[in-house]
């Protein structure tokens, strides 16, 4: 009886010890990374791209273990979800949407050991928070030049999501590009107040077409505007993914994101303890952002024009288009002649350049 008791006790202690050891071994070996999405990964846009990058990162880096949570509502739910993830021992949390920024900052303050990489964030300095968003404005300036040449009605239309500095940068860059080749162009923007509502996106696109727009683009997550453009015989550009097969006659081009080219080096740096939080804005040279192939309507002349701008970005100044003079929609001089918008100013952008028609001004 006594023997049996001792035997059980020893077994118990052994089991406890072993399980503890195995737990710590796993925790030390793997970098646990959680991705938080506020819509479904099947949106064929923003989160679709992030999740593809997540899979590539997971395969590429042996020491990384990833998981994801989709359809997380920003606000109290997101905060609770991220807290749970911290408690479960995740080392890195990637809230892959601008909507999560405020919630992520709150949680980051409480869990200083957990690292947060906020996609499309605007945070400048926190010890454990990094914001990242590629400078797709470069691509959008060039796409604006194409749009300015393509439009016959001198109206281009944007299906906007919410008023956010990063979206405004893209809309303004698109406008500046279009104006650089065609001073009569105006851009109409409809904000649908969400990044994901395929039906509202379509209705916004149709309203823009009725208001005269013949080149469309979107800040939202789905290809609904490409389908609408195909149906009504106008052109469309896209963000985040190549949406060509949704409208082969309408699709002009768009920006493409390869998030894994950011995730892999950053997670490596975190694993090797060489990571320093920053505002990470990789540009065309990094490969995180690129331009999709042109559709058949883009002439050689337009291609040469784009090539010229690209060369200027690569050799002279990556963001020459933010140079003054730039007027806002109300007629105020925002950037003086000879000056240029700084990265800080870009992160705080809350104005529309001259030529944009929006009801939010």
């Amino acid at each position: 009886m006594k023997h049996k008791f001792y035997f059980l006790l020893i077994m118990f202690v052994l089991i406890v010890l072993l399980s503890n050891i195995t737990l710590t071994v796993i925790a030390e070996e793997k970098l646990k990374v959680a991705f938080v999405y506020n819509a479904a990964v099947g949106d064929f846009g923003w989160f679709y791209g992030h999740d593809r990058a997540r899979k590539i990162t997971d395969e590429e880096l042996d020491f990384v273990e990833t998981s994801f949570l989709e359809n997380v509502t920003p606000g109290a739910v997101a905060e609770r979800v991220m807290k749970e993830l911290c408690k479960e021992g995740y080392d890195v949390i990637i809230p892959a949407s601008a909507d999560f920024e405020a919630d992520a900052l709150k949680v980051a303050e409480q869990y200083p050991n957990v690292k947060f990489l906020i996609c499309a964030g605007t945070v400048k300095k926190e010890p454990n928070v990094e914001s990242f968003f590629p400078k797709s404005t470069q691509v959008w300036y060039m796409l604006g030049q194409v749009a300015g040449k393509l439009t016959k009605t001198n109206t281009i239309g944007m299906v906007g999501a919410v008023v956010h500095p990063l979206d405004l940068q893209i809309q303004n860059a698109w406008m500046l590009g279009a104006r650089s080749v065609n001073p009569d162009v105006v851009q109409r923007i409809i904000y649908i107040n969400t990044y994901y509502d395929p039906i509202a996106e379509r209705d916004a696109a149709l309203s823009l077409i009725d208001a005269g727009a013949d080149v469309l683009a979107q800040a939202t997550n789905t290809p609904a505007h490409v389908q609408a453009a195909e149906e009504y015989g106008v052109y469309a550009m896209s963000q985040f993914e190549d949406m060509r097969h949704f409208g082969p006659n309408a699709y002009v081009s768009g920006d493409l994101f390869f998030w894994e080219k950011y995730y892999i080096p950053t997670l490596k740096a975190i694993y090797e303890n060489t990571w320093e939080p920053r505002v990470c804005t990789p540009d065309l040279t990094s490969g995180v952002v690129d331009m999709a192939e042109f559709g058949p309507m883009v002439t050689n002349e337009m291609k040469a024009m784009v090539e010229e701008s690209k060369n200027r970005m690569l050799t002279e100044d990556p963001e020459f288009f933010w140079e003054g003079p730039i007027y806002d929609v109300k007629g105020n001089l925002k950037v003086k002649e000879g000056e240029k918008l700084t990265d800080e100013e870009l992160l705080e952008m809350n104005w529309w350049v001259d030529g944009i028609i929006t009801s939010m001004r």
Binding site: G42, D43, D197, D210, F246
Partner: protein, 315 residues
Amino acid sequence: MKEASKKLMDFRTIVWIISMGMTAGTPLLFSSVGEVLSERAGVLNIGIEGFMLMGAMTGFMVSYQTGNKWIALLAVIGVCCILGLIFSFVLITLRANQIAAGIAFTILCAGLSTILGKPFIGVVARDTFKKLTLSSLDKFPLLQLLFKKDLLVFIALALAIIAWVFVYKTKYGLHLRAAGDDPSTLDSLGINVIVQRYIYTTLGSILAGIGGAYLSLAYSPSWIEGMVAGRGWITIAIVNFALWNPLYAIGGAYLFGIFYILSFRLEAAGIAVPSYFLRMLPYISPIIVLILSKLRNKKNYMPKYLCLPYIREVK
């Protein structure tokens, strides 16, 4: 801004808004007529959002697999019929709380459509309801704008009128109304209340499914998770606003659609009202009409036995 105001006054734009509003209101018209029938029979079908989602998913899936939109529509009817029967069984035979069961059903169908629809996200639809070609109207661009729609828009309109004739002008319609207003009298006439409720709840579910399928086969031909985006809940508001009358439901659904489109079109014109307010427009409209109709007419049109299970009293 000058250009914007000029655009707003344009007659063609007004016709365009009405025309687009009709299309936008069509899925709501299908589901509203269905909900009117089921609420008239005394069953509050809160699960309508779920049925619409299942309809949208099934429609797109079958149309993609078979390449035939009509087979897809039949499949939608079949699936929603089965789901509607299960729903009726829970509500009518098991006498579950209609609101709790309805919400549970919505969540169940939302999850089911998400899981089953996963492989169909991002694929291009193979056969969809396209706009009719009306070459005889070529000379009248405004009429063409108004009537160049897909067939389902007109089917929905016809269905609402048929439902009105059925509810108010036929013997069976009287039975239907009695099932919601005075089931014990109906029972004493020898008509089975339970069967009545089963029929109309299932029919309501099927119509909701077709409304959902309209979204994925005609309106925005694709399947994307949660694409119904709250239209099921709006349906319930429209039915209230339509005073449980299928004919008024046409007005309710189209009015919602018109306000919905108007909010986008006004923004495209650059009107100086923030889009946060504009997006609210379609939701304000039923509330205003509801208040106005209440002020003018104090009568309560709600079926008296709505939400109450029928229990035959043994004396």
